[in-house]
Symmetry: C2
Subunit: 334 residues, 2 copies
């Protein structure tokens, strides 16, 4: 008698090989009906799990891991949810690990995700270049970096908004509406994307013959009370400041509050633009101009490329840049 | 020669039994130094993994799963992050699954988390009563429900803010500052907590001799354009409405925008209070009064009780209610 293969089981059950594998391993998703059907066919054919099924068992968990620094950040949670949605439609479950911007924690969660046998990994943002140490791994896991410079670009697909373009356009807009001393407000802890935004800001100053020096950049730290102190000190030193591009909306909103308490009129005296175009921009006083990242496109690109890398593990090394859009509201109006 | 036990290895290595188990199984967290030390002791003593170590291997993954409907919601992401922080300090990794308020997805993720061998589970919010079907599970997993009514309270620990008290106090405040026709604004998709808030609202009306009827409750649906239509229709029918308790801050902020566009003055003509006290309440026009949930206390209670249940699986059946605080801002001022 010809040995029954997992393919035969799939054919006889009217489902895919992947589904048969999931039922055999009781891992991933299938209906109770499917389970019954597959188990019935297995029984009828006297199928015994062979090497091929064991390979499937070892190599496929239908689970994707996501490392994210801070799920309370709008941009991150939006991208993560959109990725999860797409992957689920394709039969993959997503498990999310929140690293709290802690390097040690990130390494630990990398180990955990490997231990759970994820088929692929998406790494979002972070301060340092990302490197994946495979020395203790049971298998190489394809991974995608979003807004996180990989140490070795040849090992991954790198996806990012065009932060440079966004900051450049926002800065040129500030200059166009009359700012003579625009500044860039950024956290001391700088991410890959913040660095790109800073260089877009610098380049726009340069193109418009403005000087970039200490008076062009306001460094901030959490908590808000510290930001307030730093902002007041900066405005004491550089009272001609009349435009701010903030590295994200949360910072921009905090600055709106601080400047309001310092009796500045926005946008009459100081114009402010944020980054991310989070929903909150519509509720602030005044509504906040912001650079919109295309989270749907980023999520779609990341999910598609990860699934592609899982099938073609050698096709790494790509960099994909997603365009951004400047959304103008009252905070930067003439 | 006496057989060496995992306890002996732990003693000789100067680490806990749990750490020895993690090293043996290469699962969870330990330093490179610890790993070397433990492996050296194992080699020196000629220790062979025995039944006890295998039990540890089968039963402990040092991973906790969290099911959450929507990580972009401030309350959820805040609680999840605080739980993760506490559990990590105790040596546990947390994996988060975002169910998108989709029942089928929730069931699938329950299976996935069981497949990954989590030691415990925290279920946050959701529309339906939560029940955990163990029939296909390899082991019983202790679980905690936060803001999610369990189908069988004897199987779990139930943790919740005192939504009833929060809504009651907020409603009494609206009445105290002069509202003669306060309403409750809620999504048609009602969670466990929204139901509690509604009953707090009703009870405050009753205590103050106000009638509760169709004119007391504004049902809303996403997206915002639909909310706008529903709100306009409601105010056409009930133009005397002069106070709103919204079921969460996101809804309250959307209503502030809609009412502003309808030319209402807040708080002069209509007073508004939200729920959750998310950071956004400080940035709205006007700043939003809100009922603050004690996310630190909720997270701490959930993490502690889950770890306790993992050691004492029969000590279920508790209900823990965490007090809330009404934070007053300009949106409900006299």
């Amino acid at each position: 008698m010809k040995k029954v293969s997992v393919k035969d089981i799939a054919k006889l059950s009217g489902v895919s090989v992947a589904t048969v594998s999931r039922v055999i391993n009781n891992n991933g998703r299938f209906s109770e009906e499917t389970r019954k059907k597959v188990l019935q066919v297995i029984e009828e054919t006297g199928y015994e799990m062979n090497y091929s099924a064991k390979t499937l068992r070892t190599n496929k968990s239908y689970t994707i891991g996501i490392l994210v620094p801070d799920i309370s950040n709008y941009f991150f949670s939006d991208v993560v949810q959109k990725i999860e949605y797409i992957l689920f439609e394709r039969g993959y479950s997503t498990i999310i690990c929140n690293t709290g911007r802690n390097e040690k924690k990130e390494l630990d969660y990398l180990k955990v995700l490997q231990g759970k046998g994820v088929d692929g990994l998406i790494v979002i943002s972070g301060a340092e270049e990302f490197s994946f140490d495979y020395t203790e791994a049971k298998k190489e896991i394809p991974y995608i970096c979003i807004d996180r410079e990989p140490k070795d670009k040849s090992q991954t697909t790198f996806i990012s908004s065009n932060h440079y373009q966004g900051a450049f356009e926002a800065t040129e807009h500030l200059i166009k509406v009359g700012c003579r001393h625009p500044i860039f407000a950024v956290l001391n802890r700088k991410s890959t994307s913040a660095k790109e935004r800073l260089s877009g800001f610098k380049e726009a100053l340069k193109k418009n013959h403005f000087t970039f020096d200490n008076s062009s950049i306001l460094y901030l730290d959490n908590p808000p009370a510290e930001m307030k102190r730093q902002t007041q000190a900066f405005f004491n030193n550089y009272p001609t400041t009349d435009g701010i591009l903030a590295t994200n909306d949360a910072i921009a909103l905090e600055l709106l509050n601080i400047l309001h308490n310092m009796q500045y009129k926005i946008p009459e005296q100081i114009k402010v633009i944020g980054f991310d175009d989070s929903p909150i921009t519509n509720y602030s006083t005044p509504p906040l101009s912001s650079v919109q990242q295309d989270t749907a496109k980023i999520a779609e690109t990341a999910a598609n490329h990860l699934l592609y890398l899982m099938k073609h593990p050698n096709e790494t090394g790509q960099t994909l840049i997603v365009p951004v859009t400047l959304k103008l509201r009252q905070s930067s109006a003439l």
